[in-house]
Amino acid sequence: MRVKIFFFATLREYVGAKTVELEVPVQTTVAMLKELLVNKYPQIASTQKSIIAAVNSEYAADELLIPTDAEIAFFPPVSGG
């Protein structure tokens, strides 16, 4: 299945794109997708521990199965205000 991933802040700069579309197997979890991205973009490996995932605008646990047509975002801890 195809997923659309948004990156923000440091991750956007490391990846060099705001969005990336990827083909992933069904039954892919958030953790698996993170792993896949770290392999594809080794420059984000150093920040891996603090990468936050959101699926369809909700914070997502590593074990969450990614639903079809999901909008996914990866970003560092937020710093608004």
Binding site: F6, F8, A9, T10, E13, S50, I52, A54, S57, E58, Y59, A60, A61, L64, A73, F75, P76, P77, V78, S79, G80, G81
Partner: protein
């Protein structure tokens, strides 16, 4: 009755008077306001100067999480009437207001001060907005410390 809840991300200058008016009801007698401002000179901790801050947001999620913060405020402080949570994004220079949190109520002893404080603290935990600090020495992304839990 439905109390006004304003949650906005904007590139425009923040208008405090208009914002207060938007959360003021006939019954309102108190408004607690917090505003964050770009600090040009930092003395505490790592002393440094700031040229400007560059804000970005994951807009649909940020607005949803702002509505969630407002909902949490209402659950904790049921006497709060109006709530406004507004974040300005883009390039913002020292002495410019960046965020405004307003909670209104009939009286000041209703928890409005704590409610506004909770609003800014919670925004800094779960609302997906980031800022890059640019100073004469270089630039870096400011990162928070909070890792939100699943479904939070």
């Amino acid at each position: 009755m439905d109390y006004p809840t304003i949650t906005t991300i904007t590139k425009l200058e923040l208008d405090l008077d208009a914002l207060i008016a938007s959360v003021t009801l006939p019954s309102t007698g108190a408004a607690a306001i917090f505003s964050g401002i770009v600090r040009g000179k930092t003395e505490r901790g790592n002393a440094h100067e700031t040229s400007y801050l560059e804000y970005e947001a994951y807009q649909p999620m940020a607005e949803a999480k702002m509505r969630q913060v407002a909902h949490e405020i209402r659950k904790r402080w049921p006497l709060v009437e109006g709530i406004a949570i507004v974040q300005r994004i883009g390039r913002l220079y020292p002495q410019t207001p960046t965020v405004m949190i307003i909670c209104t109520a009939e009286h000041r002893d209703t928890g409005v001060f704590d409610a506004a404080r909770y609003g800014i603290d919670r925004l800094k935990e779960i609302v997906p907005i980031w800022k890059k600090e640019v100073s004469p020495e270089g630039e870096y992304w400011v990162e928070g410390e909070y890792i939100p839990k699943s479904g939070e």
